[in-house]
Each structure stands twice: as C-alpha cells, then as structure tokens.
C-alpha cells in the first residue's frame, strides 16, 4: 500500500505513515510529543503546526485565525496527510522535555543511571484469560453491511447495533469526535473497521475506530510507580505476551528521597508541577524506549495500568497530597476512575485510557492491591503474608476471609539506592554472592556479564556471608582482623568486592559500613512492621503457612540468607516464595482482564489498614531489630547453625 513520508522540522525526523494518518498521529509515531491536551478532539487548539511542503486535508476549525490560516498553520489532530509532507513544529506546540536535562542528583544518588534500563524480572507466565473475559481495552473487528435502499440505518447506529449484537451490551457510547469522522472512515475502509473498546460499568465505550482489521495491533503498558524506582512493562495484549520491562529511578528523588519529603516539596510553589513533570517524564521515557526497541507504533497503544503508592499516584495526577501526611492521614482519592491518557500526560494514542489500581490507605497503595491479586493471597484457605520490600515497605496479612495491610518506611537500600555500589536488578548486577573459607569471592551477575554493581538480592547475600564468616559484627561493623579486602576510604572502612579492572564500570565495587547501616535499617523496618501486624492480629510467625516476598531486588532471592540478616522471620524455607515485582504482575493481569480489575477493587475494598505510627511498640520493635539478625536471638534459633 502507498505510504507517505512526513518530515518534522526542526528535528529533521522523517517517518513513513499510512495515508489516513493525521499529523498528530504521525508525530507520535515519530516519537515527537505535541501539545494536545484535548487528546486530538480538535477542541483545545494547542497542536498548531506549520505546513512547509506537501498536501493535507484539513477538517474545518474555528480555532485558527485567518492570519494563521494564511501562514499555513494547521491543527495537527485535524489534518490528514495526503502526500509526502514537511511540517514545522513551533516551540509552543512542542511539549517541553528540557526538564530532564536540568536535574541534578543529590549526593546519595550520584552515579545512578537516570535513563531507563532493561530490567530482568523472575520468569512468570501471564495468566490465562477466559473467553468471556476481556482486556481493559480490547479490539473488535466488524464487517458491516453497507447501506442500500432497503437498509438506510445511519452510520453510527449501524456501527453500534453491530457492536451490541456481538458484545451483548445494552448501551454503547461514542464520542462526538468519532461520530464526526465516521462517515468517510467507514466508506474508505469499505465498511470493515476495528473498534477500540472499553467497558464502563454496564456501558461499552468506543474509544477509537480504525480501518481494516487491526485486532492484532493492541498494546498496553503497565507501570509500578515506586518512590525510588519506576518500572514499566510493554505488553502485547492480542498475543498476551510481555515484550519488555524497563526500570528507571524516579526523578522525583531530586526533590526528596521519601514520600514525606515529596509531599512537603509539593506544598511549595510549583512543587506539585515539578514533581508531576519528573514522574511523567520517567513514564514517557520508558514508553518511548520500549516502543522503539520492540518496534511498536505508539498509536497502537490504547491502555495503561498504573499502580504505586498512594502519594505517587496523587503526584502523577497533580493532586495535592497535603492531607496524606496530616492526621487522620486521608488521601484525596483511592479509587481513581479510568482517565483519558491526555489528562494524565502519557504519550500513547491520544484516545487511550489509563487505569489505576485502587489503593487501600494513604500509606498502602495500589501496589499492594496488585501484589495481593498476583499472589492470590485473597484466595488462600490458610494464613498467608505478602512482604513487599520497597522504599515504603508494605506488608499484607490474610486469606480468603480477611485482609489487613500496613506499611513502614524502609528506605531505598534494597532497590540499590543510597548504597555505594547499588543498582537495579538490571544487567551486570551482582545478584548472588558467596565466600569460601579463604575469603575467595564467587558471584553471579544478571546476564552473566562483567559486574556493574550490586542489587538488593546481592546485598542480602553479601551481608549474610559476612556474618557467617565473621567479617562483620552483629551490629554491622567490620571486625578489625587484618582483612586484605578491607581498606580505609576517608575514615570509613569498606570491603572491596570486585576491583575496578574486573568490572564494567571502571571503579571498585565496594560495600562500606554506611551501606550496611542503611540495609540494616531497611530490614529492621520491614521486620518490625511484619512482627507488629501479626501481633495486632494475635498471630505469631508460626501461624503463617505461606509468605510471599515481593520487590524489585533481583531475579531470585536466597531465602536462608534473607533470614540470616533478619529481613525474614526464621521459618522453614518451604514457607517462603520469592515472587518478584508483584505490583507489575498484578497490574498486567488487570490490563488483560476486566475480571481481575474488578477483583482488585474488591481486594482494596475489603482490606483493612493498620497505621504503624499509632503503635507505640513500633519504635521498640524497630530498635530491637537493628542488629543482625535481631537483638532477640530466640526469634532466630537457626542463626549460627
């Protein structure tokens, strides 16, 4: 089929597009972001471009002055490309992305990659979706009967009737913008079109109409927006396949390392806006890079599911999180309705929808809902526990009869931030580590490449081995025995794990006492939260039949080592299951299944919340856990054996 070449100026970017493409669609395919707050409905008048060469067909608009029309200014969303063209994008039309270059990392995050990195998650199958179930946005190919003198039903009703018949829906909604374009679109496509559909309660909404059968071209993104790490995954909805996963450090970190300092920053002038720009630029980076790598046209992305802690979701939606940190800690919204992608600011098909996994409280967000869903904690007969190790460590306890969650601020150490040689669980991360009696080091990196740093599971192994071989004391300080691997670096002792000549980063991979301190705090917070949650519900660790460990710290986790350092309770290893990033797993299950999304709502509705800051014993529990594995060795009988 004939294609047109579109060249964007001043970028000098050229792209080939189908003849029915608008300039806005072409720009998105080329990875250029235009200002289009109305989502391409032709009502905001922001996507002005100047035609330099070639022919276009434009729908009439009142948003351009006669002066502008004379200067060949067009609205990109209302202008269909009719030949090879050259288009200039004026500065005010372009969405500002200069922000990314401007940021300066705080010292504790120095050296961390801000670019999205391919990350490796534990292998996992996407869930089977039954035939009656549908993805959140799905496609329907229709071959309509053309009208004739015996059948003069109007175009829209013809389309809606056919849709209702196939889908058994009572009510089908369609936007005015879709109606306006429908007549020529149906006829040009010889009455064979594909609808992008989403359910809205009992109603079905037609998001988009495309010519011909494009049902195989339906992609979606899921995002886990963490305080420290943002993870995104591209999913081929038609094939039910994960195409790629990337992670990026949350750029909001420049404005504060934890949730509370972000909220304080949001209260300042422009603070909310800056935080929004930082987070949305992270998401758009992941989107752009995954699309390029997997050769996906972003016009074929109609849905995204976002999950994350409550504050992060507020900031993504530019909702002031002021009341989250004030008693009685009430968030503005817990169940965010599906939103148009342009309202959120993601660079997907402008008609795409963004869905949000419902949260539970101000400090337990949709990531926990996703985790409960992914691990099926809500379907267990026996008592189970989900521990999500993140900057905000969350713990959910329950079974099919009840669910309760709590959260504790753990810090980002297990995500590889705030630790000297820390990194994501991406290629080159040391994820397994052991020592022999001659202090010889053995390690595995993700992807079996030269090491670049240490990820969370690597740190757990390192500390467990250090304890085992008596390299550190139980308070985390290095013993003073002459160890050739330990050296002094400006007054701080550090252990060289890999010397620079054997790394891919040309600097020594080390672990220092302050790293150990940060990890100790993180594990103590999580252990204390877990222990108090059980105590409050009058259970003990022994009552737990299943413990799921979630978090982005590696592709695998040595449970014994995690017990040795006191992150996990001392129970038989069979009780534990490392499940990786369950926020992403749960969100992708929802992307593919309306039923799972409904189940997520039920989980969130039914889950109770325990506020740890109201628990006077939290500080005691936390302080008592600031030791390896714990100051109360009776809780860790297997330590030392």
């Amino acid at each position: 089929m004939e294609k047109f070449k579109v060249t964007f100026l001043p970028d000098q970017k050229t792209i080939e597009v189908e003849p029915d493409y608008t300039i806005l669609q072409a720009a998105l395919s080329a990875g250029i972001s235009l200002n289009a707050t109305c989502g391409g409905d032709g009502v905001c008048g922001r996507c002005k471009v100047i035609l330099r060469k070639g022919k276009v067909v434009s729908r009439p608009t009142a948003l351009l002055t006669p002066e502008e029309k004379k200067q060949a200014v067009y609205l990109a969303c209302q202008t269909v490309i009719a030949s090879d063209i050259e288009v200039e994008i004026p500065l005010e039309t372009r969405l500002d992305e200069g922000f990314i270059e401007k940021i300066v990392l705080p010292s504790q995050l120095k050296g961390l990659p801000l670019e999205a990195e391919e990350i490796v998650l534990p292998q996992r199958q996407l869930p089977e979706v039954s035939l009656e179930d549908r993805p959140l946005v799905w496609k329907l190919y229709l071959k309509l009967n053309p009208p004739d003198k015996n059948n003069t039903t109007a175009d829209v009703e013809r389309l809606i009737n056919a849709t209702r018949k196939i889908t058994n829906s009572n009510s089908v909604q369609i936007s005015l913008q879709n109606i306006r374009g429908i007549a020529s679109l149906l006829r040009d496509a010889q009455w064979q079109v594909t609808l992008g559909l989403t359910s809205c309660g009992q109603n079905l909404e037609i998001l988009n109409i495309e010519p011909k059968d494009t049902t195989q071209r339906n992609f979606g993104f899921v995002f886990d927006i963490g305080t420290t790490t943002i993870t995104g995954q591209l999913i081929d909805i038609a094939k039910k396949q994960v195409l790629g996963t990337k992670a990026v450090y949350n750029r909001q970190a420049v404005f504060g390392a934890d949730v509370i300092s972000r909220i304080i920053f949001a209260e300042k002038n422009d603070g909310l806006e800056k935080l929004y720009e930082a987070v949305v630029s992270c998401l758009n980076d992941i989107i752009r890079q995954l699309a390029v790598e997997h050769k996906i046209d972003l016009n074929d992305v109609f849905s995204a599911v976002c999950t994350g802690n409550t504050t992060m979701i507020h900031l993504l939606l530019r909702i002031n999180p002021y009341y989250i940190r004030r008693q009685p800690y009430v968030p503005t919204v817990q169940f965010v309705p599906p939103l148009r992608v342009t309202e959120v600011g993601l660079r997907l098909n402008p008609r795409a929808m963004v869905f949000f996994v419902p949260g539970i409280s101000s400090y337990v967000g949709g990531d926990v809902t996703s985790g409960v869903l992914a691990t099926a904690l809500d379907k267990q007969d026996t008592l189970g526990l989900l521990i999500d190790v993140g900057t905000n460590g969350e713990v959910a306890l329950g079974n099919k009869d009840f669910l309760i969650a709590t959260s504790a601020s753990a810090g980002p150490a297990f995500e590889g931030s705030g630790v000297r040689s820390g990194m994501h669980s991406s290629q080159g991360a040391i994820q397994r580590f052991c020592l022999n009696r001659n202090a010889q080091i053995y390690f595995d990196t993700i992807g079996n490449t030269l090491p670049r740093g240490i990820c969370g599971s690597g740190y757990i192994d390192v500390l467990a081995e250090f304890l085992r071989w008596g390299i550190i004391e139980r308070d985390g300080r290095f013993k003073l025995l002459c160890n050739p691997h330990i050296r002094d670096n400006n007054g701080e002792k550090e252990y060289v794990i890999v010397s620079s000549d054997k790394t891919a980063v040309e600097k020594d991979i080390v672990i220092c006492e302050s790293d150990i301190e940060n990890i100790k705090r993180a594990k103590a917070a999580i252990y204390a939260a877990t222990s108090i949650l059980l105590k409050k519900m009058s259970f003990s660790f022994k009552d737990l039949k299943k413990i799921f460990i979630a978090g982005g710290f590696g592709t695998s986790l040595d449970i014994r080592n995690a017990i040795t350092i006191g992150l996990l309770p001392d129970l038989p290893v069979e009780v534990f299951e490392f499940v990786g990033n369950t926020a992403i797993a749960g969100a992708s299950a929802m992307l593919l299944s309306q039923r799972q999304f409904e189940r997520a709502k039920r989980i969130a509705e039914n889950m109770a919340y325990l506020e740890l800051s109201d628990e006077p014993i939290y500080m005691d529990e936390y302080m008592a856990a600031l030791f390896f594995p714990h100051t109360d060795l009776e809780r860790f009988p297997s330590f030392g054996h």
Binding site: D475, M623, L633
Partner: protein, 320 residues
C-alpha cells in the same frame, strides 16, 4: 476473710556477678561481693527471691579530685591527695566493702599517667587494701585501652569489675578481662537497645554473661532521673520476661551525677533559702541513690560517706 496476695512470677532471674577473689579463689581479697540473682522487682521480697543486697562502692580517684565541691572534699580530710590513704580511710573509717577506683590521672588532659604507672598504683592498692575493687578508666578511649589492659594484667586473678566498655570501644577491654579473669562494665547511653546489643557483642567475643554488669548511664535527681529510671525498669521487665541478654545487674554512677548538680554544690550564701549546703548535697546524693535502688540498681557508686550511710540504713530498713 484474708485477701489473697497475688504474686507475679517471672521466667528469668538476673545473673549473679561476683567481684573479688579470696585466696582460695586465686586472689588476695578477704571477702567477695556478689550482686544479682533476684527473681523479681526490687522491694517485692514477698513475691521474689532477692538473695543479695545492693552494694555501695566508695568512689576513689588516683589524683586529687578535680570538680568535687569543698564540702565533699572536707569529709575525707587530708587524705585525698594520697589515694592509698584515701582507700584505707574508706575501709577503716567508713566500713567500705567495695571500692571504685577512677583512674582520672591517666587522662591526657590531666596528668597523662602511663599504663605502667597506673598498673603499679593498682598493684600497690591491692596489696594494701583487701576489699574487692572496681576499676574505671579516664574516659579517653585510646588511653583507656592501654591503661585498663595494663591494670587488668596487674590485677590478674583478683576478679575486679573493670569499665567501661561501650559499643564503640569494647573489644580490647573485654579481651583483657577474659584473659585476666575480670568482670566488665558495659556502658550504654540511656538506651535499652544499645545496652542489649552491647551485651550480645561482648558475649559474642567470649566473655560469659555472668561477668557483665550494665551501666545504663543515669542522671541525678532533677537531671533526667526519670528517664534513666524508666530505661532501667524496661530493661528489667524485659529480663524477667525471658530476655537473657538483658539479665545483667546494674551499676549506677550516683556520686558522679549527684555532685554535678547545682543543688548539691551551691553554697548557702548564693541560695539562702536552700538551706545548709553540706546537708543538701548529702540528701541529693542519697535521694538519687534510693531512687535508682527502686529502679533495680545492684551497685551504687557513691561519694559522700554520710549519704552512703543513709542509703545503707534504707537498704536495711526495707530488708531488700
């Protein structure tokens, strides 16, 4: 009908620690001092076994005390300049059963005495005085490591109580206490968790738990006494509830804290309504001491003989 007395029964008892070794035990003391062993909170002799009374140690310096008020100095007369005479006076005149020697002269800012000098002094003292002793360093970590090691060696076999080990500096002292058969003071900054951590770290090196006495760092009456009190109480409750790493006896530096307070030092001239200064200082020290007895103190290190006498009477009165 008689009202039934409810009795609290705890799982664990406090470790017993013995200070001093007699000739049969390889030392040269005429008697030993044992603390700890109680199975319940202080004063509750009806429900708890309290085998040993709290002990009071007289504080003695190796140099002329620097910041002691005159009223306190006067009671010892002219012997303060000679620590051996001072020690003898405590034993002979004031019936001291336990002495606490503070090697303040080793401090680089004082006389900067060498480890050898201090070791020699300890040897002389042990020859002259036959009661068990506690040895305290000067407070400078580096110096104390050298001085206390030398003194521990000089006092080998005498089963002294030596301090203080802190979480930042404990290895050298603990190692030499193990080598020379002494007990150790584990000092923590009014923090129950650090206290416990330090006990674990010390036992990890190999000193058995019944050779550790905890110094929780206390404050005088009016200077944070309540905080220290509650820390001690919590530690004790934890110990009785089964936490063996909290089950060490307590030593409290009463004199040092009480005689720092303005109320103990100020003259009557400056504060006419406060009453006679000497009596005030004694009362201040005694009240502080009695408060910490109630919190569970096992060894009180005190300064004024009259304050010590009052506290002795108190201990006898309550038969604890």
């Amino acid at each position: 009908m008689a009202i039934e007395q409810l009795k609290e029964c705890w799982q664990t008892k406090i470790n017993t620690v013995t200070i001093g070794a007699t000739a049969e035990q390889g030392g040269s003391r005429l008697h030993t001092v044992t603390v700890g062993g109680q199975t319940g909170l202080p004063f509750l002799s009806a429900e708890a076994e309290i085998p040993y009374k709290p002990q009071i140690a007289f504080e003695i310096w190796d140099i002329l005390p620097l910041d002691w008020p005159e009223d306190l100095m006067r009671v010892y007369g002219g012997c303060l300049a000679n620590p051996l005479e001072w020690a003898e006076k405590c034993v002979e005149d004031f019936n001291a059963g336990l002495l606490c020697i503070r090697l303040q002269g080793a401090h680089p800012e004082n006389e900067n005495r060498t480890p050898e000098q201090e070791a020699h002094f300890i040897q002389q003292l042990l020859r002259q005085i036959k009661v068990p002793i506690i040895i305290l360093g000067c407070g400078d970590d580096e110096k104390d490591n050298a001085v206390l090691c030398a003194c521990a060696e000089a006092a080998k076999g005498e089963r002294c109580l030596i301090g203080s080990a802190s979480s930042n500096n404990y290895k050298t002292l603990v190692a030499s206490c193990i080598a020379d058969g002494h007990n150790v003071i584990a000092q923590s900054p009014i923090d129950i968790n650090i206290a416990k951590q330090l006990n674990i770290l010390i036992t990890d090196i190999g000193l058995s738990a019944d050779r550790i006495v905890m110094d929780p760092t206390v404050g005088a009456l009016g200077y944070g006494l309540e905080y220290a009190y509650s820390i001690m109480e919590r530690a004790r409750l934890a110990a009785f509830s089964g936490d063996k790493m909290m089950a060490m006896p307590f030593i409290c530096m009463i004199g040092q804290e009480a005689w720092r307070s303005k109320e103990a030092r100020a003259s009557q001239q400056d504060f006419p309504t406060w009453g006679e200064a000497t009596a005030r200082g004694i009362i201040w020290e005694a009240t502080t001491a009695v408060s910490f007895l109630q919190a569970g103190a096992d060894i009180l290190v005190m300064r004024h003989p009259q304050a010590i006498e009052k506290v002795r009477q108190y201990i006898e009165l309550f038969n604890i």
